[in-house]
């Protein structure tokens, strides 16, 4: 366990150094970003849209008890933008992107392609890991923006046309309660979670065993460990931010 943590710390330092020094492999980063967006946008949308709907469905009944259904959108917006959207977007990126990055790097390792890169004087961390990490860091917030809109839209559908909440009141409360800080918190969380997904996928991929089964295990371990990390970190960060009044 200690050895793994030590290895991960050294690996993170290697990634950090490679990220901020030449040569940069921009093309690889853009290619991976395009693949991640293609693979993730539909599942992420499908995961978040029902959450907005459920919040409205459940929330409207409770808010009506206090005659405060016009406040529903404030709750919906905060929940979606600060919590559900970052967490679900990141979990989907972990499931789709993390596993595929770990499997790709692991396969390259098993088939000797990582050694081939090294012999050609190409730093494998710089060429195959950093683009994946950067892609996760950039794509996860991007997906979160889309899921914010989808989540609120689905919540609006169940609150306004189907739930009878006044559209003007819904929008007024939404815009009054949601601050730029909420947006930044959500996007910041996504970037941090994306960083975690990319790092863990890269580390497990590069340190894969010798065979196809090990590649599969690396992909599975990436998904499980990143989802646990995301959900746990989300809780800690939310507590810390609320404690700080943010």
């Amino acid at each position: 366990m200690l050895q793994t943590i030590g290895g991960l710390v050294v690996f993170m330092a290697q990634v950090a150094r490679a990220t901020f020094s030449r040569p940069f492999y921009l093309r690889q980063t853009l290619d991976i970003m395009a693949i991640l967006v293609q693979r993730c946008i539909v599942p992420v949308g499908l995961a978040v849209a029902p959450v907005g709907a459920v919040i409205s469905l459940q929330g409207i009944a409770v808010f009506k008890l206090f005659g405060a259904e016009r406040m529903l959108s404030a709750f919906l917006g905060t929940a979606i933008i600060r919590e559900y959207s970052p967490a679900l977007a990141s979990v989907m990126v972990a499931a789709q992107a993390g596993s595929s990055i770990a499997a790709r790097i692991g396969t390259m390792k098993v088939r000797g392609q990582i050694d081939a890169l090294a012999v050609m004087s190409v730093d494998p961390v710089r060429y195959v890991v950093v683009p994946g990490v950067l892609a996760c860091v950039l794509v996860t917030p991007l997906l979160s923006v889309v899921t914010n809109l989808l989540g609120i839209l689905s919540g609006w559908i169940f609150a306004v046309p189907l739930g009878g909440v006044d559209h003007g009141a819904f929008m007024d409360n939404l815009t009054a309660q949601i601050t730029p800080m909420d947006l930044w918190v959500g996007l910041g969380k996504c970037a941090v979670f994306g960083l975690g997904v990319g790092m863990i996928a890269g580390y497990l991929g590069l340190n894969v065993g010798r065979g196809a089964a090990d590649v599969g295990k690396a992909a599975n371990d990436t998904v499980v460990s990143t989802i646990v990390l995301i959900l746990f970190t989300d809780y800690v960060v939310s507590m810390a931010l609320l404690g700080a009044g943010l």
């Binding site: 050294v10 290697q14 150094r17 396969t107 390259m108 088939r111 000797g112 392609q113 050694d115 081939a116 090294a118 012999v119 050609m120 004087s121 190409v122 730093d123």
Partner: protein, 265 residues
């Protein structure tokens, strides 16, 4: 720090007392050899005697436990890839190598053309039309010109090996390392590859270090021959001399005898 300037007579490779173990298993045990630049050296030996480990030590993929590995005078054994200042020196040495891996190690997500063009795009300032011309020349030399748009998964094992050889010689390296180049090839293609090695050696003066089980290949191309058995370099030297000495292990290997100094574990 850059690699020290070398005189032309500096050997391509010198191994001094190189040993490497994995756990309790000693793979290389005090290996000493000198490979002059511009020669073709064939390293023979049964499976599992450390031939591939030797190649990996040359390019710094593995670091020996003891000894020095000098490549054009630079001691690769003291360079740690994880240290930034060592890495630049190691990469400078590696740029002088082309390597044909045992399984080809082609990049799955690139076409044959892009695989061969990869080192050119990385390490040269060639224009794309120059790269195209050179890639096609290399692919034609190894007999796979028709496959430039295919992907590695669409190739046979022999074709993958030939493409990998084209990639290994893509930027005219000083030293070409070949890990069992003829395995998986039919005898005709194997002989064609040997002729290509001889031609490249003759025209470009490349140094070749070839790991092989193929005794016919050794007789055809080798100027220097070494034999690894049980972790030790049992014989090494100019091919004529080695063949004349006819070390018992070499004789056993060439005559396919099961009894002799080479132990089958």
């Amino acid at each position: 720090m850059s690699a020290p300037k070398q005189r032309d007579d500096t050997p391509a490779v010198v191994l001094e007392n190189v040993s490497k173990s994995f756990g309790s298993h000693t793979v290389l045990d005090g290996v000493n050899l000198t490979i002059p630049r511009g020669t073709i050296c064939v390293m023979l030996g049964p499976s599992g005697t450390g031939k591939s480990v030797l190649l990996r030590c040359l390019v710094g993929l593995l670091r020996p436990d003891t000894g020095r590995v000098l490549v054009f005078g630079e001691n690769v054994a003291e360079l740690d890839e994880k240290r930034a200042r060592d890495r630049d020196r190691l990469f400078a040495v590696r740029r002088r190598f082309g390597m044909l891996f045992q399984d080809g190690a082609l990049f799955d997500d690139m076409s044959v053309f892009d695989n061969v063009a990869f080192p050119m795009r990385l390490h040269t300032k060639m224009r794309e039309d120059e790269i195209r011309e050179k890639v096609r020349d290399r692919l034609a030399r190894v007999g796979v010109a028709h496959a430039e748009d295919k992907f590695p998964s669409e190739l046979s094992g022999g074709m993958r090996k030939r493409v990998a050889f084209a990639r290994a010689i893509a930027i005219d390296p000083d030293i070409v390392l070949c890990d069992e180049p003829s395995s998986g090839l039919d005898p005709v293609m194997s002989a064609t590859l040997d002729e290509l090695i001889l031609e490249l050696h003759r025209t470009l003066g490349m140094t070749f270090i070839i790991i092989s089980h193929d005794t016919a290949e050794a007789r055809m191309v080798a100027q220097y021959i070494g034999m690894l058995a049980n972790g030790k370099l049992v014989t090494f030297g100019p091919a004529d001399q080695v063949f004349a000495e006819n070390h018992p292990a070499l004789e056993q290997f060439f005559t396919r005898q099961t009894v002799g100094p080479i132990k089958v574990v």
